[in-house]
Amino acid sequence: MIDIPLTHILILGAILFSLGILAVITKRHAIVVLMGIELIFNAANLNLVAFNRYQPDTMGGQVFTLFVMVIAAAETAVALALVLKVYQYFNTVNLDQVRQPSQD
């Protein structure tokens, strides 16, 4: 196994995190925003796995990552359900247009 330095992995995580943030902030579509959130999750997971290097005899990082992915899947299900309700209510999932009618 090629020994990849920790720094590279962390930089990749940082890039993933930044891309996720970028997607969350700039995208109008709610589902794309959710995708950005998934990226941020993955950046965190990547860090967890990378830092597990300091404790080689345990698999804490990897196990924790699995938990995060499970919870993220559940969270994504809830978020998609919300997006569905939002769509039923507002007839759109464009975040700029999703506001309470009374606020206009």
């Binding site: 969350v24 902030i25 700039t26 975040l95 506001r99």
Partner: protein, 729 residues
């Protein structure tokens, strides 16, 4: 009522005083009810006025029965105190004093007031302010009764002013007419002039004796001794003063003249008599009430109440003023053609007689004249009212508009209004002073008194005093002339307005309403001497004189006049030659006057109808214009005063107003500066703070824009800053 009285108060006394109080208050009640609710009452409440005054009259009669010749009632209570209880400065009492004079006046005033109110029911019928008229009459009667009942000068003065005020209301009752309002103002202001003197007189007496109470003052004057130019009074020991007071003679004289000034104003004496003829602008029944029985009599009543305080000098002054007034009034009456003005000047003249009587010391004779005059003059005024009423009706029916009060337009009323004529005749005869009529008794008593006084004073060698009775006798001649002329012009011959009788009368059978005639006839009957004396030819038998005589009063023997009054009184009663002489003389003079009037009337008839009679010579011009007294007042008092007030107004305008304006402008400039500072600096700071708060709010609101992503951005930046903080600090 807490009663503190000099004499012990029994229940009986207290009851009588209470009756007197109720008697006085009844007309006031009528006034209050009528002025508040009069318009809503049935018949506008005239019955209420008549009912209350009728009750007052009955009470007055009862008091008269109880008190006349029997007792004197004086009930008073503490009115108010000045100073603290430890250091009492003065205390004032108020109360009721009833003696023969007071009860007699009560009966006369309530009786005449009652008749006048009954008369007014028809006379004032249909007037816009009918109920107010009766209310004012009630107020007037109340004030007059107050003067009569008052036991001290302060209380008397209050009611005195009330009489002035209510007479003002009555004289200018028809305030739509300029003459009426001006006459009201004039009467009020001329009375004020006299009242200033009156007030000063009261102050003088108070300063000397520390009391207003008439009885106490009288009792001081009983204990009087003359030492040089001073009077020495021994005061009762109960007062907290030294028991002996020395009073300069001139001070008491001045005080007396002050009191007399009140009478000069109210009783229309020279030189303030000019208000009375003008006051004829009021309704005729009011003239009957004010100028016959009540207001003008108040002055004489005051003289009677204060008679003991007058020094001989004041009495001589009084006699001279009275004589002047008598003759001036009589001369002026001779030249008038207005039916009411003749009676007004005649009233002035008769009041002059009364004051002259007081001055010469014929106190009782003067009061007898006051009473008899009240009846016959009221009768004459009410008769004049009927005649004016008839003239008015005739003029309205005939559509002519001449002066309805001008006797030149009258004539023939003997046939038109026979009952009025029969009522008028005894009153006229009484005024002239023909035997068997009341005026004969009273006028002869005054003239005899004047003659006796002149005898007494002349015995010291000064014959000028004889002028007083001589002028008095001359006035009898004039009285005969003007009254007979009045009578001839009105009643004799043919009517010079319209020849048909019917236009003057109510209906062919009835000459006037019974409510007009009954008062007049009653008063006419009371003009007979029989009612005032058992022997209608001599005044010493008169019950009025006997009841009021000073010789019977407890304080009769004052030595302030050194006994001259008593000597006059004794001469008056004892020497019958004076009485017979004046009786014969005055009757002859009166008849001569009537004869002259007949001549003048005949020449008037022969000349035919002349509406405008210009006075032929200076003297009759003088008489017609009342000796130009009004003009003199206008030119020498009123015009300079107006000029002065104009000057003062100019000074006000050019100096005081100017400097005030400058000051005002300065203040405005200052205020402008302060306003600028306020606006720019203080308001600016406040506004800036508000703007700042608004700005912060706006900035804060920017973050709360409802976009989930921007919240996200903020939280990310927050996180980044947090991390940077942790890293660097």
């Amino acid at each position: 009522m807490n009663i503190l009285s000099a004499i012990s108060v029994t229940t009986d006394t207290n009851n009588l005083a209470m009756i007197a109080l109720g008697l006085g208050a009844l007309p006031l009640v009528a006034f209050m009810l009528l002025s508040l609710l009069g318009k809503r009452m049935p018949r506008q409440g005239d019955w209420l006025g008549i009912l209350t005054i009728g009750l007052s009259f009955i009470l007055a009669l009862y008091l008269f029965m109880q008190i006349w010749g029997k007792k004197v009632i004086h009930v008073s209570f503490l009115w108010f105190k000045l100073g603290s209880p430890e250091n009492m400065l003065a205390s004032f009492t108020a109360g009721i004093y009833l003696d023969n004079l007071a009860v007699l006046m009560l009966v006369v005033v309530t009786f005449i007031s009652l008749l006048v109110q009954i008369f007014s029911v028809v006379y004032m019928h249909g007037d816009k302010r009918y109920s107010y008229y009766f209310g004012y009459l009630g107020l007037f009667t109340f004030s007059m009764l107050g003067i009569i009942l008052a036991d001290n000068l302060l209380l008397l003065f209050i009611f005195w002013e009330l009489v002035g005020f209510s007479s003002y209301l009555l004289i200018s009752f028809w305030y739509e007419r300029d003459t009426a309002t001006q006459a009201g103002n004039k009467a009020f202001l001329f009375n004020r002039v006299g009242d200033i003197g009156f007030l000063l007189g009261i102050f003088t007496l108070y300063a000397l004796f520390q009391t207003f109470d008439l009885q106490t003052l009288n009792s001081f004057l009983k204990e009087i001794n003359q030492v040089g130019d001073n009077f020495v009074f021994r005061l009762p020991t109960k007062l907290p003063l030294s028991s002996v007071v020395e009073v300069p003679r001139w001070l008491l004289t001045l005080g007396g003249i002050g009191l007399f000034c009140g009478c000069i104003g109210k009783s229309a004496q020279f030189p303030l008599q000019v208000w009375l003829p003008d006051a004829m602008a009021g309704p005729t029944p009011v003239s009957a009430l004010i100028h016959a029985a009540t207001m003008v009599a108040a002055g004489v009543y005051l003289l009677a109440r204060c008679f003991s305080f007058f020094t001989p000098e004041v009495l001589i002054f009084m006699a001279i003023v009275g004589t002047l007034t008598t003759v001036l009034g009589a001369i002026a009456a001779c030249a008038q053609y207005d039916i009411k003005k003749i009676l007004a000047f005649s009233t002035i003249s008769q009041l002059g007689y009364m004051v002259m009587g007081m001055g010469v010391g014929a106190y009782d004779a003067s009061l007898l004249h006051l009473v008899t005059h009240a009846f016959f003059k009221a009768s004459l005024f009410l008769n004049a009212g009927i005649i004016i009423h008839a003239m008015h009706q005739a003029q309205t029916l005939a559509g002519v508009h001449t002066d309805e009060q001008d006797i030149q337009n009258m004539g023939g009323f003997y046939k038109i209004l026979p009952l009025t004529f029969y009522a008028y005749l005894p009153a006229t005869a009484a005024l002239i002073g023909l035997p068997l009529f009341s005026g004969f008794l009273s006028k002869d008593a005054i003239l005899s008194g004047a003659w006796a006084w002149a005898n007494f004073q002349g015995s010291k060698g000064n014959y000028f005093f004889y002028l007083v009775p001589v002028v008095g006798f001359a006035s009898v001649l004039l009285t005969g002339f003007y009254m007979a002329r009045h009578c001839f012009y009105i009643f004799f011959g043919q009517s010079r307005l319209r020849t048909e009788i019917s236009v003057f009368r109510d209906s062919p059978q009835k000459e006037a309403s019974g409510l007009l005639l009954i008062p007049v006839l009653l008063l006419a009957v009371l003009s007979l001497a029989f009612f005032f004396s058992q022997n209608p030819f001599h005044y010493t038998n008169s019950w009025v004189i006997q009841g009021l005589s000073r010789l019977q009063l407890p304080f009769a023997t004052t030595s302030i006049t050194a006994g001259s009054i008593e000597k006059v009184s004794l001469l008056l009663y004892q020497s019958s030659y004076i009485g017979i002489g004046t009786a014969v003389g005055s009757v002859l003079l009166g008849c001569l006057g009537i004869f002259l009037a007949w001549m003048s009337y005949k020449s008037f008839i022969q000349k035919g109808l002349i509406q405008e009679v210009l006075p032929a010579n200076t003297f009759s011009k003088l008489a017609l214009n009342h000796f130009y007294l009004d003009v003199i007042y206008g030119r020498f008092l009123i015009s300079p005063f107006l000029l002065l007030s104009k000057k003062v107004a100019g000074f006000d305008l050019s100096f005081i107003d100017y400097s005030l304006n400058i000051f005002g402008k300065f203040i405005v400039i200052l205020a402008k500066l302060i306003a600028w500072f306020d606006r720019k600096v203080i308001d600016g700071f406040v506004n800036f703070m508000a703007w700042l708060a608004g700005l912060i709010g706006k900035l804060g609101r920017l973050t709360q824009n409802g976009k989930i992503q921007s919240y996200y951005v903020f939280s990310v930046f927050g996180l980044i800053f947090l991390v940077l903080y942790i890293i660097f600090f």
